[in-house]
Each structure stands twice: as C-alpha cells, then as structure tokens.
C-alpha cells in the first residue's frame, strides 16, 4: 500500500438478502429480497465516493452494511484491513469510532427528548476514554462551533432548531469521535433548496479540515457530481458503472447511467425543445424477483438475448477506461448532447 492511493475501506462481494418468510408459527422461507447483491469497491483516505441510484437499488442497505447496522449475508467490509462484518463486542465498538454516519432526515435522526449537548456529547459517554469527563462540555461546544452553530445553544432541544441547523447537529455528532470515514445517506435531500448549498459547503470544508473520506449516497446527480471524486451507479443491488466524475458524467457507457443522466432536468430553459431525452419505460422491477441475466434488461433499449442469459460483470470494456456492467457498453455523452 502506498500513501496516496491507500484504501481505508475495502468492500468485497457484499451481499444482503432479506428472507421473505411465509407462515406464522412454522416459518418457511419462500424467497429473498436481494437488496445488495455482490458489491465491491475501495475508498481511499480523504476521498469522496458518490453512490447514486433510484429507490430500491440498495444504496441505503449498503450504508447500513458499511455501518455494521445489518449483518451481510456474505462478503466483507474491511476498514484499515479489519473486517467490521465479523467484529463483535468491544472490537466492533472500537471500530465504530472510525466510521460514522449523517442521516437523511434531520427531524427523525435526533432524539426529541435530549438536549443538543446530550446528543452531541453522547459519543463521549459511550466511548468514555475519548474525552475526559470534565472536558466533554467544552468538546461539545467546540464541535457546535465547527459546524457553524452557536455553542451557547447547548441546552436547547432539537425542535427549537430549523432543518438545516438540525442537520448540522447530526454532523457534529458524527464528527465527535474523529472518524476517518463518514457515510452520508442523502444528507441534503430533506432540506430546503437554499439550505442545501450551505450544508454541502460545510461537508466539503470538514472533509478538507479533517481529511475525511465520504461515502456520499444521493439521488440528486448534480449534488453527487459536485462533491464526489468517484461515482458508483447502482441498480437493483448491483453497481452497474464505476468511475471518476468525468468518466461517469461525460463518458457514461452503461445504458442505465445514460438514462439516469438524461432524465435529470437541466436548470436552464434555453434549448429545451431540442434536448434529447432517454425516457425509460416502466418502473424498476422488484428486488425480490429481479430479471435473469442483466437486471436492467427489462427497461433497456439495447437488450438482446445474451442479456437475459448472461449476467454482465463490472469490468473495463473496450473503448472506455472505467468498469461498466453492460455487454454492449458504449460511450454516449447524454449531458452535453444537443
């Protein structure tokens, strides 16, 4: 391992199937929801990996697996070389210091019965050796200051803050243990438009200040592009394309990535009549019963017989430099196409 490309997080063949049970007393498994179905990637120190995909693609389950909030069916999640999926007890607790999360909904992610000081200070109570008891209040106030909140408001309750401020409280809690990795699960999508940019800027500033690595999960592609160094596109539990931001946005090779990018409305009315759109038909299939072969083939305009028979691997395809899980991967610039 060399310093600049050192992987801090290695995910290998991660699978999570939720069993579908039938019967009340004698449960029989009749199937499984394949929420995450063989996902592998690396995250380097100080890097941001964006994860985009539609609802049901497994991105939130992925976040839970990385946080060891769910046990995977198989596969591994190594943080600094140690597998968090097999860690238990004190070891798991110690590993959690290094990976924290910021959740989507600032209204439900803070305990309404606790003061801001208790919420942000809770990490120190759980990991009592991180900050000495006498210095905790001061540490909490420093954290509030770091995220741009008034440290004097330490005794207030969450409902006395606006959505953007609550999200800052959640970020302060995530920072308390000085983790190297923060999983951001849709951190701005519940916020007002004028507040989103503030929180994005805060996240970027904190990344520079503390050399954090982010997994940035979102459905808003322009937001993901702005903050991410590399981007993984997910569809029905699998990564279908993985590359740096220009590779994904300017040279996408997977039809789903192309459709997703072209579906995003461009905030500029000029030339809207001539803009080319790929409009996908139908909804994503159920992850309980995904199509055979390539999961995307049922909505794909390029689908052929081989797509139903053979599952395409996520690998570098001819004509492009980044991996794509499509038999017919081909560069097509949909964003700049007129």
């Amino acid at each position: 391992m060399t310093a600049p490309t050192e992987s801090i997080l290695e995910v290998r063949d991660l699978v999570k199937h939720f069993p579908l049970n039938y019967g009340v007393v004698f449960k029989r498994q009749v199937g499984a929801i394949k929420a995450v179905d063989g996902v592998s990637f690396d995250l380097r120190r100080g890097e941001t990996l964006g994860v985009v995909g539609e609802s049901g693609c497994g991105k939130s389950t992925l976040a839970k697996l990385l946080m060891a909030l769910e046990r995977p069916t198989s596969g591994s999640v190594r943080i600094n070389g140690r597998d968090i999926t097999t860690a238990r007890g004190a070891e798991l607790k110690r590993m959690r210091r290094n990976i924290q999360m910021v959740m989507q909904d600032p209204y439900t992610s803070l305990n309404p019965r606790m003061t801001v000081g208790d919420i942000v200070g809770e990490p120190f109570e759980i990991h009592s050796d991180v900050a000495p008891k006498g210095g905790r209040r001061q540490r909490v106030q420093e954290l509030l200051e770091v995220v741009g909140l008034n440290p004097d408001h330490i005794n207030r309750y969450p409902h006395q803050f606006s959505g953007g401020q609550r999200q800052r409280i959640g970020i302060a809690r995530g920072l308390a243990l000085q983790p190297e990795i923060i999983i951001c699960d849709e951190p701005v999508s519940a916020l007002d438009v004028s507040i989103q940019a503030q929180v994005m800027n805060l996240l970027e500033r904190l990344q520079n200040e503390f050399n954090l690595a982010y997994i940035f999960i979102a459905h808003d592609l322009s937001v993901v592009r702005h903050i991410s160094d590399r981007i993984a596109v997910m569809y029905l539990g699998k990564i279908v394309e993985l590359g740096n931001d220009t590779e994904i946005y300017d040279n996408p090779t997977h039809p789903y990535t192309q459709a997703l990018l072209s579906a995003v409305p461009v905030p500029d009315p000029e030339g809207r009549e001539t803009r080319q759109r790929i409009i996908l038909q139908g909804d994503p299939p159920s992850p309980a019963n995904p199509p055979s072969g390539c999961h995307f083939r049922t909505r794909c305009w390029k689908a052929q017989d081989v797509c139903a028979e053979q599952e395409p691997a996520l690998e570098v395809r001819p004509g492009s430099a980044h991996p794509s899980a499509c038999h017919f991967a081909e560069v097509r610039d949909v964003v700049n196409a007129e």
Binding site: K93, Q100, D105, N111, P112, E122, I126, L149, Y157
Partner: protein, 307 residues
C-alpha cells in the same frame, strides 16, 4: 470565505429572537399545556385534597376514627347532627371521620397498584418490544394468559382463595396488579416497537451504544407517555376495584377503614340510615372522577397527534 459564510449564517440564525417559542423540552411543553387546562386543575385540586386526607386525616377531623372509644352505641344510626355531620353508623361511630380516614386505603391501593403494574408491565414491555423474537413471544404469551382473566372476577377468585384471614390492602394490591400489568405491557410494547425504528435509535447504535443505553436513554423516554396516561387513568379504576372487593368482603378487613367496607356495612340498613352509605359513595365517586379527569388531561397534553 467558507468559514466566514458558515459562521455568519449561523450567527444570523441564532440571533433571531424566538419570541413565541419557549426554550423547553417536550415534557415542559406538556406541563405548559396542563397548567392551562381547567379539567386538569380541577382534577388535581381534588386529588391534592384526597392525598392530604390520606396523609393527615387529623387535619380534617378532630375525631380519630380508629379510636373505638369515640363510638357510642347509644347514638347508632343517628342522622345528620351538628356533632356528626354525616351522621353515625350501626355502631355509633362518626361517619364523617370514618370517611376521612377511609381515604388512606383507597389512595394506597390505587397508587401502589398503578405503580407496580406500570413498573412491571412497562419494564417487561420494554424488553418484549426491544428484543422481539423469543423474548417477545414468551412475554406476550404470558401477558395474554393473564389478559384472558376478567380482572375483577380474577381478583375475587384469588382473594377468596387466600381467605379472609390473610386478606388486606397488600393482597388487594397484589391481586389487582397481577391482572393489570399485561395491559401496560401491551401498550409499552407497541410504543417501543414504533420508537425503536426511529432514526435516532439507529444513530445511537451506529455510535456503539449498548442495549441498556438505547432502551433507557432513547426508547423509554419516547415510549413512556402512553404508559403514564394509562397508569393515571388506572388509578381511579383501582380505587373503585378496591372498594368493590372490600364491599364483597374479600378486600381489606376491619378494623381497617375503607369506603367499600363502609358501604357494605351500611347497605342492610340503608332505608333507616342512608348517610353511612351515601357519603362514602359520594367520596368514592368524586375520587374516581378526579383521577379520570387527571388522566384525560394528561393524555391530551402528551398525545403527539395534538402537538
């Protein structure tokens, strides 16, 4: 520029005067509501008087009803007089002082039963809701067995089985609590199940919080409200049940003074001397009503749907 923008924006927000808002927890918000609720005020005044009566009966009556020498058989079943405001009973004892002294048993039984059933039911409900799987199955089935027994009938059976000589306030509390905790368990379990799926619980787990901390710091404070409401409403129910059991002769036993016993003693000579029956009955009704009013007000204040 970045730091400046963020800091400035924060200051901007925080500098805003928050007029109509009170810097308050949800509990103090509830308290704020309660203080303005007329039903709550009336209910609590009545309850306070009752508690005073139970604790210091001598404040209300110069006659010690537990002192047999105050009874005078020659004055038995006397109507309302200036000396005996509520008349006298079969044995010539002063009904007024006996009604005052009878409050103690009612209050003790009501509060103790409610507390025990809330602690047992609440605690087990917390465990059942949090752990689910076999813990839940075990506790919920156990609760269902008790739940299937009609409560007053069950207490009646239990108390008749242990016999009059062993009966008393303690056995009444025990028999009522044994039958009341399953309801609290169900309420608590449902509240815990909805609270444990909240994001803040996930956040606490992600921080490495253990089950104890998650249950006590995160789930319980957010799930306890319906239990408090039910326990408050139950106070009145248990007081009425105690009176009923004592009336039937299986509850507290003489010489302990209880409204239920007094009503039972006076019922055979009701037409001759109605006062020894009517006054304890009035006190009993007002007491039950006061606790129901209190419970209703607490429910309104804590009900999240009205927030």
């Amino acid at each position: 520029m970045s730091n400046a923008t963020v800091a400035e924006s924060a200051k901007d927000k925080d500098a805003r005067p928050e007029k109509a808002r009170r810097p308050a927890s949800l509990w103090s918000d509830a308290w704020h509501d309660l203080r303005r609720n007329k039903v709550f005020i009336l209910g609590s005044i009545l309850v306070l008087i009752l508690l005073l009566m139970a604790a210091f009966p001598s404040l209300f009556s110069s006659v010690n009803a537990y002192d047999p020498s105050t009874c005078d058989l020659s004055n038995a079943r006397e109507g309302i007089t200036s000396k005996h405001w509520f008349g006298t009973d079969n044995l010539g004892c002063d009904t007024y002082s006996r009604v005052i002294y009878g409050a103690r048993v009612s209050v003790i039984v009501g509060i103790a039963t409610s507390l025990i059933s809330a602690v047992v039911g609440g605690g087990l409900g917390l465990l059942a809701g949090y752990y689910s799987r076999w813990v839940d199955v075990l506790l919920s089935r156990l609760a269902e067995i008790f739940f299937a027994i009609p409560s007053v009938l069950g207490a009646l059976l239990f108390l008749s089985a242990i016999g009059r000589e062993n009966a008393g306030a303690f056995t009444v509390v025990l028999s009522l609590a044994v039958l009341a905790w399953p309801l609290i368990l169900r309420i608590m379990r449902a509240a815990v199940i909805s609270a444990k799926n909240q994001d803040y619980v996930t956040a606490a787990r992600a921080l490495g919080a253990g089950p104890g901390r998650i249950m006590l710091r995160h789930i319980m404070p957010n799930a306890i409200a319906p239990v408090i409401v039910t326990a408050t409403l139950n106070l009145g129910v248990f007081i009425a049940a105690e009176a009923g059991l004592s009336f039937l002769g299986v509850g507290v036993q003489p010489p302990t003074i209880s409204w239920g016993l007094m009503i039972g003693d006076a019922r055979r000579r009701f037409l001759e001397a109605p006062e020894p029956l009517i006054f304890p009955a009035i006190f009993l009704s007002i007491t039950v009503l006061a606790f129901v009013m209190l419970g209703d007000a607490v429910r309104d204040a804590l009900d999240p749907k009205l927030r």
